[in-house]
């Protein structure tokens, strides 16, 4: 004997269910093929359903009054033999629909429009081919539409024309092209121009970063937060580093707010790491990461940019610079530049050794700090950075 389940059939053109009106057989009954089994009421009619098998009724799935969904078990039979030539395996529901659900394409696939406008398909294609994120392109076409020239400009390539050798031209035609500037760049330019008026001088010192690297790796941070912490410690003994020229006096600041210079697409941004002197190196590291990421994403808060920096640090080593002349941030008298930490030939105990080393560049407002003072501060800073013991003394 084999068990066969008879499911509720679709009794008329797309019905979804039927109500059992009355059973014409009972569990345990032996029935014959086509013997009336049950009366089912549908939305259209009351219908007598004949048995699809000859066999024994094992189970009736539902009493009179119960509504059974099409496809749900109605009667379980025990039929003779493993496979019955007559009867029904699993009754089909209404003719299967071959329709797949239609999945709507989402509009705007590969490229959102530029910040202000859209772009025609060939321009999108070009941007894609040149590796330009069209969402960052300012469009100069009608309605802010991004044009091919906009894309090419951003990609930094010549507008048109073959790249191979051209004939040399003489004369006044310089191949001029006007590049528009946005307000952010305009503002930064104004600030920098004002800053250029301050008498500032830069002094340099090479630092053996062996201890620095060892210490910072122990903490699992980059060198910059360690340098910031060291600088804050030095400021305690050299308060003029954390001061500003106030016209008719010099203003010392007790709190140390470190401006961290970050290069972004829109220009130089200097978010402020507040009360740096009281933070641990780990905390400084977290803050620096947050500020740098936020600056690049254009997502700094007012708390990050509103406070006045009292001193500034510029990690010029991050783009490979060995030494530089960092510009003073407004309202400060000192900016420390950290050059790239890379192996150099240093003289240690009379011998030339390859050591990780960096050049520190200290720009200072000469009205506030003089050369000797700057030099002394740098000496102490370098000594601290080169001292394993000293570094570990910094609040970790």
């Amino acid at each position: 004997m084999a068990e066969r389940i008879f499911a509720m059939p679709d009794l008329g053109e797309g019905l979804e269910e039927g109500e059992i009106v009355a059973w014409l057989v009972a569990e345990g009954d032996t029935v014959e093929l086509n013997q009336p089994l049950v009366e089912i009421e549908t939305a259209k009619a009351t219908v007598e359903v004949p048995s699809p098998f000859s066999g024994v009724i094992e189970r009736l799935h539902g009493a009179a009054g119960v509504v059974v969904a099409v496809g749900a078990p109605l009667v379980t039979f025990q039929v003779a033999g493993a496979s019955e030539p007559d009867g029904v395996a699993t009754p089909r529901t209404a003719a299967a629909s071959p329709d797949q659900p239609f999945v709507e394409r989402r509009a705007g696939g590969a490229g959102g429009a530029g910040a202000t406008g859209a772009a025609t398909p060939p321009v999108r294609r070009l941007a894609k081919d040149l590796g330009v994120d069209i969402g960052t392109v300012e469009g100069s076409g009608p309605g802010g539409r991004v044009l091919e020239t906009d894309v090419r400009r951003l990609a930094g390539r010549a507008a048109e024309g073959p790249q191979d050798a051209q004939a040399v031209t003489l004369g006044e035609d310089l191949g001029l092209e006007r590049v528009e500037i946005d307000p952010v760049r305009r503002a930064i330019a104004a600030t920098l121009t004002a800053q250029a008026a301050i008498p500032q001088v830069t002094t340099f010192r090479t630092t053996d970063c062996t201890e620095l690297q060892r210490y910072r790796k122990e903490l699992g941070v980059s060198p910059l937060p360690v340098v910031v912490a060291a600088l804050c410690r030095i400021v305690e003994g050299h308060p003029l580093l954390n001061a500003r020229w106030a016209g008719d006096h010099i203003e010392l600041r007790g709190k140390v707010n470190v401006g961290i210079a970050v290069d972004t697409d829109r220009g130089l941004v200097v978010p402020v790491l507040q009360d740096a002197a009281r933070r641990t190196v780990t905390d400084l590291a977290a803050q620096i990461t947050r500020l740098a990421t936020g600056a690049r994403a254009g997502k700094l808060t007012l708390d990050d940019i509103a406070p006045t920096p009292t001193i500034a640090v510029s990690n010029t080593g991050s783009y490979g610079s060995e030494a530089g002349t960092p510009i003073l941030s407004p309202g400060t008298s000192v900016t420390l530049g950290l050059g790239v930490i890379a192996p150099r030939a240093l003289v240690v105990d009379g011998e030339v050794q390859a050591r990780p080393a960096s050049t520190l560049s200290l720009t200072f407002d000469h009205r506030v700090v003089d050369g000797a003072g700057a030099g002394a501060a740098l000496t102490d800073l370098v000594a601290l950075l080169q001292s394993g013991e000293g570094l570990r003394d910094l609040a970790g």
Binding site: T120, P121, P122, R124, R125
Partner: protein, 332 residues
């Protein structure tokens, strides 16, 4: 007109005459071809397209029927079961509608229904489109109904020589083909030799140009050529494409035009919504999206019932409307 110079000579043909010759040549080649419909036998058709055929081939092969469009279409189906090939005519575009049930339910579906055991080699000729200042129901563009019916092929000639080619292909096709003949062009003339040419599913470029491509068919081809000539005077070089076949469309040609010009303008008399321009625009987008320099333009009839003769010229796409659309695309 059957006592003309042999069809193999170079001579001037009207579209009506070329179609007449196509029927004549097909009747001569295939003894199991029948031509029937209203007024096609004794009088030779209201546009003379069947002129002289009954006299030449006899009333058993070329005959008139009662006014029974559905009956005519159904008879063609039954004849196919008996192994006969038919060319039937619905006298004017709107008069094909009574037969739509037979065409959609049976002509288009019968072969699939009987799993290929019976072919339906039926050609349905329908004088179509406007431009003859006709009465109501004599200027319709019914192509969408037929193109949208799976199982049919649909062609539209625009000139005499190509009309011969298309009708010959349609008749020879073992499948049902609807040929919509632009009645406004029945008396247009073309000089040349009637012969074989591209078959169903192939379009043709009638005028070259790389600034934009005007895609059209039927009576509008002549108007588009005029517009292109006018645009050339303004330095805009528009390509003119005669689709010839609406189902299937020549996807390859559409893709090429889109890639080479980036600007497609579709012109048809039929009302805008769900006219052929909608399908062509979508195909072009699917095939050549990245090459489009402007949105696909449509110059079409309006979504109103076809107007009376006095307003017809304001309804059908004009040279001016086509020019404007092309220039819009070029200046996008």
């Amino acid at each position: 007109m059957s006592e003309q110079a042999p069809a193999s000579d170079v001579r001037e043909w009207t579209l009506s005459g070329a179609l007449n010759q196509a029927l004549r040549d097909s009747l001569a080649e295939d003894p199991r071809l029948l031509v029937f419909g209203e007024d096609v036998g004794r009088s030779g058709g209201v546009f003379r397209v069947t002129d002289g055929l009954q006299a030449e081939f006899g009333p058993d092969r070329v005959f008139d029927t009662p006014i029974s469009e559905a009956g005519i279409a159904g008879t063609a189906v039954g004849l196919a079961f008996a192994g006969w090939r038919s060319v039937i005519e619905f006298e004017f575009d709107a008069f094909s509608y009574p037969a739509l049930e037979q065409v959609i339910d049976h002509v288009a579906k019968m072969r699939e229904r009987v799993r290929g055991r019976v072919d339906l080699p039926i050609t349905i000729r329908i004088p179509s489109f406007g431009g003859i200042r006709g009465k109501e129901h004599h200027g319709e563009s019914p192509e969408t109904y037929y193109v949208h019916t799976a199982g049919l092929k649909v062609v539209v000639p625009s000139s005499a020589l190509d009309g011969y080619t298309l009708l010959r292909h349609a008749i020879a096709d073992p499948d049902p083909v609807v040929i919509l003949e632009p009645k406004a062009r029945y008396w247009s003339k073309e000089t040349g030799v009637l012969g074989d040419g591209p078959g169903i599913g192939v379009g043709r470029v009638l005028r070259d140009g790389d600034d934009a491509a005007i895609v059209t068919y039927g009576a509008m081809v002549a108007t588009c050529l005029e517009a292109a000539e006018s645009l050339a005077g303004d330095g805009v070089h528009a390509r003119v494409v005669d689709l010839r076949s609406l189902s299937p469309l020549d996807d390859g040609l559409l893709a090429t035009c889109a890639m080479e010009t980036g600007r497609i303008i579709v012109v048809h008399e039929a009302p805008r919504t769900l006219g052929m321009a909608a399908e062509v625009a979508t195909r072009v987008m699917e095939l050549a999206f990245d090459h489009l320099q402007a949105p696909v333009g449509r110059v079409t009839g309006y979504d109103v019932p076809y107007p009376p003769a006095s307003l017809e010229a304001r309804y059908r796409p004009s040279v001016e409307r086509i020019r404007t659309a092309v220039l819009q695309a070029v200046n996008y």
